[in-house]
Amino acid sequence: MSSTTNSPTHHTSTIGAIGAPSRRNTELALLIFAVVIPVFAYANVGLAIDNRVPSGLLSYGLGLGLLAGVAHLVVRKFAPYADPLLLPLATLLNGLGLVVIWRLDQSKLLQAIGQAGDKAPNQLMYTAMGIALFVVALIFLKDHRVLQRYTYISMVTALVLLLLPLVPGLGLPVYGAKIWIHVGSFSIQPGEFAKIVLAVFFAGYLMVKRDALALASRRFMGLYLPRGRDLGPILVVWVISILILVFETDLGTSLLFFGMFVIMLYVATERTSWIVFGLLMSAAGAVGVASFEPHVHQRVQAWLNPMNEYKLSRSGAPGVHSEQLQQALWAFGSGGTLGSGLGQGHSDLIRFAANSDFILATFGEELGLAGLMAILLIYGLIVERGVRTALAARDPFGKLLAIGLSGAFALQVFVVSGGVMGLIPLTGMTMPFLAYGGSSVIANWALIGVLIRISDTARRPAPAPASNPDAEMTQVVRP
């Protein structure tokens, strides 16, 4: 950060505090912008599909605006110094997601297979629930350091959440991946919530243990090699993530948790060797599991030869074959640089999960490379604000928690967009805020809530001068 040396021959720096303005009005202006863009998109979709401005324009605009307004007022009241960008960026993504889900609702093809029709109103309801959780998080979590008390409770909670889909009768395999549970008529993806709880556990655990992990090491070929017994925690997390991969057959969840741990370990200890170990271990684990677990193996095959998979699916070959990935790649390709325009693409050919896991393909086709880059940049900005919050936080727990949450967010965006674009094998996770799905939207709003709370604490100026009780109570009698 700064050289604070006292040596008279060196350049010297002074460090002073900059009083942070609260930036709430900036947030409000950006928030209005972030609500207007989806309304514009909504009108655009209606004009393209039905030749008229959709009748629901006012109610959708008002609904999104109302939710954003409530969130803004709560931030203004309970976290006045919070980061001004997190809320508008998340609102914009959520709004664009709503519009594209509504656009896919209009597709006759998706309506015919029950994948669309009434998804947008549902998503608006989930958004409301997400904002409600965001509000609750901001009101009841006055100080993020309280979470530190629940380090080991968080560990147990996260493990339970991760194992829930494996409970017979509760778990629900969806096309091979067992990451869903059924409660009544709802289906929930507990992994989405587990990522927040797990970040709390990792932050609390690493804060205590990081000295042992960082200092006790030998130097070998420019790398710090940790002692054998210090490898324990990373091995345990690795084994758990491999077990998730084997039993829930979901590469995304597994990669997300192991990756988040490695990122936090690196940030906590400043040792590059952890990243090297982490990459080697995850590569070995993924290759090992893919070679004997049929579902994972099949996903890898579909990733390597999407065209072959498409032909098998079309010819009705035995086994589960999906043309989704090839259709998504065609969607990206036909979008080109500037896209086909909202409502004028054919991404509904993806059929299954076109509005959840594969929603990015619709963005790619209808907004083109230019629009997709803007969307990915908005994700990047959210992550950047999270990392900036971690840098500014004054307590190590807050630093680690902020970096863990933004790291998990970044990994999820990478895993999903990489899967849809054919860079890595496809997983069962969803794009945060854009994709249709209650668990995802609600959990990510809670994640943004926690980040806003940490950023408020980090940017709050030093407390006002308090009168010194000693000076007031004591009367000094001078002779």
């Binding site: 350049h11 460090i15 505090a17 001004p84 000295d211 896209g339």
Partner: protein
């Protein structure tokens, strides 16, 4: 809807989307907070750092206590110079600063050698800043000596708590 209108809307939407991204980046550009580092250059007299520091560029007289009680050489901030929190500053505005591993400390130390309520730094009636060890296990050191009583802090003297070193600066 005519082809032209739809094309205009398509390009217009992309433009608006990018405008949002650019505005957001502009907000980040103007969103400076935290610590400000000012390079002063190497114009100090060798061997007299303390003296030179007093003569150097006029300090920002921020956070002054009223009533003219503030002495001319009073420190205005506390700077962490070693340890995990290196670079952290706290403005000295007459408030008591607590140091320790407890979560409610002003500076939360993440250090196995620090006690939960390790030390505090406060101004006495004359505005002189005092450091007091709060019965810590491993002690608080001013320069090389372990503190036993509340002690006034000279400007720029290192206070060591475990692996963390802090100083008061102008």
């Amino acid at each position: 809807m005519s082809e032209l209108t739809l094309t205009v809307m398509r390009l217009g939407f992309l433009a608006v989307l990018w405008l949002f991204v650019i505005v957001a980046v502009q907000v980040i550009r103007s969103d400076l907070f935290g610590t400000r580092v000012t390079q002063r250059g190497a114009r100090r007299d060798a061997g007299r750092p303390q003296q030179a520091a007093r003569q150097a560029a006029p300090p920002q007289q921020r956070g002054q206590q009223g009533g003219g009680r503030q002495r001319r050489n009073a420190p205005t901030k506390l700077v962490v110079t070693e340890g995990t929190l290196t670079g952290t500053t706290v403005a000295l505005q007459g408030q008591t600063i607590t140091l320790g591993r407890a979560h409610d400390s002003t500076i939360v130390l993440d250090d196995d050698y620090a006690s939960s309520r390790h030390a505090r730094i406060y101004p006495d009636r004359d505005g002189q800043w005092i450091v007091e060890d709060l019965g810590s296990t491993n002690g608080t050191y001013l320069d090389r000596s372990r503190l036993t009583t509340p002690t006034p802090i000279p400007l720029g003297a290192p206070i060591r708590i475990g692996k963390t070193v802090i100083e008061l600066r102008k």
